[in-house]
């Protein structure tokens, strides 16, 4: 992106004034270097979002922003329903509520390295992963509806999770006001055999070692010490979310004319929140959020069972669970007044600061853990929400490194087995059904995650707490 098109607010904040139909300015949080590396499409998309009705304050792009669909990936925008605000299926994305959760293990690096192969094999055997994989749980209509309204809470009630986990999941594991009746038969059909599956692409399960602590006090409150072993799971709402995205993208495109909405880009298909279409999507999307929360809870259950095979006394307590692709009704201060806003986070993490009423007591003084996922060879980071983040982009931060080259470029540059061997040399064990998938997900295909996290920290979006590096990666 041409940096001369932006007005510099600070070293990590850049602004585009509201012109040509933009209702609000656009703000990009990134270093000069990250901006220069961003696609020009991010400029187009972040300014197009600013043209949507009822947008509040600004259209935001996080440090890992890249070219998405309508919204940039790494885009945040809040809408006021009473000011004609809209909800956009493209602003949430296809993989609704895709997210990351991190588990404590209590293991040492020595214990893991002693059993590295055994752990990798048992996790790979027990957790369905990759294209075409299916879970052992098959839901009939009644159970599907219960899952769609119950989320992780449903999984716990089914004996597929721990009750103690729920307080460490956004919305306490259950997104209220889901409307299963607004979810198509096609979406249900795609999900029927996919509960408890990890998926493919950038989704993973990793056993990770804490290799650096940036803030010892917050790390202690989060239960993180140097050299600790954690397990992180990255996946989403599977076929159900993908199909809801597909269904409503088209339905919203067709209904936009009826609502008098002029779309700057078809992918920005949206509907007023106060409309039948807007409410239908909201109800369906909330069901998909519950599906993702249930899915991560079930995978956690499978992980616990697997790890007990090797370490019979192990307890895998949940540190936290965050979602990346959502639209949530939240209370935020706008010009000194508290307002209810529909906050879209497309490839962005919620980053509530200290004192937020929705946080569990344990994180009340620290702010919420913000889990930023890496990929295979690259580090992951744990940050904390800050008071500043609440005033910046409605309590939001980045979600990952973001790709810096396409899958096609990556598969031309690398082959799967050499990537696997290179990672093995670094002590990282990979298990995946697809060599081609590994090549496309090669660490070199992603941006430098440390630069992204550094920018988020300096911009005040979230505060850096710890760095984790993978020892084992189960990859779709």
């Amino acid at each position: 992106m041409d940096i001369n098109r932006l007005e510099k607010v600070s070293a990590y904040q850049w602004r585009i004034e509201a012109t040509q139909g933009m209702h609000v300015p656009a703000i990009i949080y990134a270093s000069e270097e990250l901006i220069r590396d961003m696609d020009d499409k991010v400029y187009d998309q972040v300014t197009n979002v600013a043209r949507l009705p009822g947008i509040i304050n600004a259209s935001y792009a996080m440090p890992d922003a890249h070219w998405g669909y309508g919204f940039p990936i790494g885009g945040v925008a809040a809408f006021d329903a009473d000011q004609g605000g809209v909800i956009s299926a493209g602003g949430v994305g296809f993989d609704i509520s895709c997210g990351v959760r991190t588990l404590h293990t209590g293991l040492t690096a020595e214990q893991v390295m002693q059993h590295q192969q055994q752990i990798a094999n048992v996790l790979y055997k027990n957790i369905p992963v990759g294209v075409g994989s299916t879970g052992t749980l098959h839901l009939n209509k009644k159970e599907m509806d219960a899952m769609l309204t119950g989320g992780a809470r449903w999984a716990v009630n089914r004996g597929l999770g721990n009750n103690d986990d729920l307080q460490y999941i956004e919305e306490h594991g259950c997104m209220p006001d889901a409307m299963p009746e607004q979810i198509s038969e096609h979406a249900r059909e795609r999900q029927k055999n996919e509960m408890g599956t990890l998926g493919s692409g950038n989704h993973y399960l990793e056993v990770q070692q804490v290799t650096k602590i940036y803030d010892a006090d917050i790390a202690r409150d989060y239960g993180i010490k140097l050299n600790d072993i954690k397990i992180s799971i990255h996946c989403g709402s599977r076929g159900l979310g993908h199909q809801i995205g597909t269904d409503y993208l088209k339905a919203m495109l067709l209904s936009a004319k009826d609502h008098g909405i002029k779309l700057p880009d078809r992918e920005l298909a949206c509907a007023p929140i106060h409309s039948a279409m807007g409410q239908r999507y909201l109800g369906a999307m909330r069901g998909a959020i519950n599906c993702a929360l249930a899915n991560r809870e079930i995978i956690t259950h499978l992980t616990r069972q697997s790890m007990k095979n090797i370490f019979p006394d192990i307890e895998l307590d949940l540190l936290f669970d965050v979602s990346h692709n959502t639209c949530k009704l939240e209370r935020h201060a706008v010009k000194g007044e508290m307002k209810s806003l529909y906050v879209h986070r497309k490839g962005a993490t919620r980053a509530y600061g200290p004192g937020h009423s929705s946080l569990p007591a344990k994180f009340y003084n620290t702010g919420q853990p913000v889990l930023i996922g890496g990929t295979m060879g690259t580090a992951s980071y744990i940050l904390s929400g800050t008071e500043t983040s609440m005033h910046e982009a409605f309590g939001s931060a980045c979600h990952g490194a973001g790709r810096h080259m396409s899958r096609r470029q990556a598969s031309r540059l690398w082959n799967g087995s050499s990537v696997m061997h290179q990672l093995a040399d670094k002590g990282i064990m990979i298990r995946s059904p697809s060599m081609r998938g590994i090549a496309e997900e090669a660490p070199g295909a992603y941006k430098d995650i440390s630069a992204v996290v550094n920018a988020a920290d300096h911009a005040g979006l979230a505060h850096r707490v710890a760095r984790l590096e993978p020892l084992i990666c189960i990859k779709g």
């Binding site: 070219w67 993908h242 597909t246 088209k250 998938g437 779709g476």
Partner: protein, 138 residues
């Protein structure tokens, strides 16, 4: 012109583009381009047949409907396709897709496809050729 397909770059995902002497051929080639994201299409055998139909008077939206109908078949029946036969009349698409059940060891499928998007979506006639393209989310 021989009908053919290609991929085009999208930072996070992949664009699929089909060329043909008719809109039907362009749609068939776009579908092949999409399958080639998942696997090497020469590894797929045409053992099973699936019938697909969808309708939209906007040719661009008909393309995303077509690709999304295939994505649904792939996801729910765990199939990979290598041959397509498309007919379009008055906004109504009817097609057969041939392929086989996913065999992970044989096909090494790299990634599942979540949906066909409106990004870079275009169906148009250039001189005597038809071109059909969009970005798919993986």
């Amino acid at each position: 012109m021989t009908p053919h397909w290609e991929h085009f770059e999208h930072q996070a995902d992949i664009g699929v583009r089909g060329y043909g002497n008719s809109i039907e051929q362009a749609f068939e080639q776009a579908a092949l381009a999409m399958m080639a994201i998942m696997t090497d299409i020469s590894l797929i055998n045409a053992q099973q047949k699936v019938n697909i139909s969808c309708a939209d008077h906007d040719p661009a939206l008909l393309l995303t409907d077509w690709l999304n109908a295939l994505i649904f078949e792939i996801a729910t029946h765990k199939l990979l396709f290598c041959e397509f036969d498309v007919a379009i009349s008055d906004g109504q698409l009817t097609a057969t897709a041939r392929g086989e059940t996913i065999d992970v060891a044989k096909h090494q499928p790299a990634v599942e496809i979540k949906g066909a998007t409106f990004t870079e979506l275009a169906v148009k006639q250039v001189n005597d050729q038809w071109m059909a393209q969009c970005v798919v989310d993986v």
